[in-house]
């Protein structure tokens, strides 16, 4: 259990180092996705299955897809960049790090010392009760944050498209 944590921590730090030192945006994003998946494995090892699933779905899925869409929108020469983005060397580093994580998950499944659903279920119940009990004001504040975020993103994106049409 401890050695799994240290391997995942090493993968996270290595991938994060590559993120902040890489000059190519898409390669940096690939490394950041690997770092997020490794962090999700660490969350799982700490018994926070719900947080681990959310880390992959929302961070690794939604937020990283937003970043990749913006990088694609910013790229002026799509064909030239397409050739460099799909080179083999871009995938080697993240693939090796992801394979290490895959091995860890396979070991966790094979060894069978992962927390079962019987342990996880009361914890999810406790989270839900706390979220809508003592933390209800936080949920309301989060909804008040998300609505201006939605309107702001819509406003910024809409003015860009209208200006692009005018010129």
């Amino acid at each position: 259990m401890e050695i799994l944590f240290y391997i995942a921590a090493a993968v996270t730090v290595l991938a994060t180092l590559r993120v902040i030192t890489h000059v190519h945006a898409v390669h940096a994003l690939l490394y950041l996705v690997v770092a997020l998946i490794a962090l999700s494995l660490i969350f799982y090892l700490f018994g926070a299955q719900f947080a681990a699933a959310l880390e992959i779905i929302i961070y690794g899925g939604a937020i990283m897809v937003l970043f990749i869409f913006v990088v694609m929108l910013l790229g002026p020469l799509a064909v030239e960049q397409e050739r460099t983005w799909f080179s083999l060397s871009a995938w080697v580093g993240p693939s090796i790090l992801a394979l290490v994580l895959l091995g860890e998950v396979g070991y966790l499944i094979a060894s069978g010392d992962h927390p079962t659903m019987a342990v996880a279920e009361p914890r999810q119940k406790a989270i839900s009760i706390a979220l809508y009990g003592p933390y209800i004001i936080g949920v309301e504040l989060a909804s008040m944050l998300l609505l201006p975020g939605l309107i702001g993103a819509y406003h910024l994106g809409r003015r860009l498209s209208s200006e692009a049409r005018s010129c």
Binding site: L32, A35, A48
Partner: protein
């Protein structure tokens, strides 16, 4: 058992994100560094919650996730606007507000 190494890892990740934020001038990489720092804070909360056997850490993680989603959607819209107006992603070029 693993709470101290997890906090050390959170400090390392936060430091890496801070170094990236201070050293890069590309606004997209500055946003990526902000994401790394938010993740380090989330890891510290999860480790603390697991250490004390409470669910508050995971609830704070949910709030951090909400904050990150709202922040990224607005910030990427701003990045698109700036790149459309200034034709660059250099953070030093956006000095119209004389900040």
């Amino acid at each position: 058992m693993l709470s101290t190494p997890a906090l050390v890892l959170a400090i390392i990740l936060f430091g890496l994100g801070l170094i990236g934020l201070l050293s890069r001038r590309n606004i997209l990489y500055m946003l990526l560094s902000l994401e790394i720092m938010l993740n380090a804070a989330a890891l510290a909360f999860i480790a603390g919650g697991a250490r004390w056997g409470q669910v508050d850490g995971e609830i704070m993680f949910l709030f951090i996730l909400t904050l990150a989603a709202a922040e990224v959607s607005v910030a990427l819209g701003i990045v698109l606007q700036l790149s459309h107006r200034f034709r660059t992603l250099d953070a030093d070029a956006f000095c119209e507000m004389r900040g």
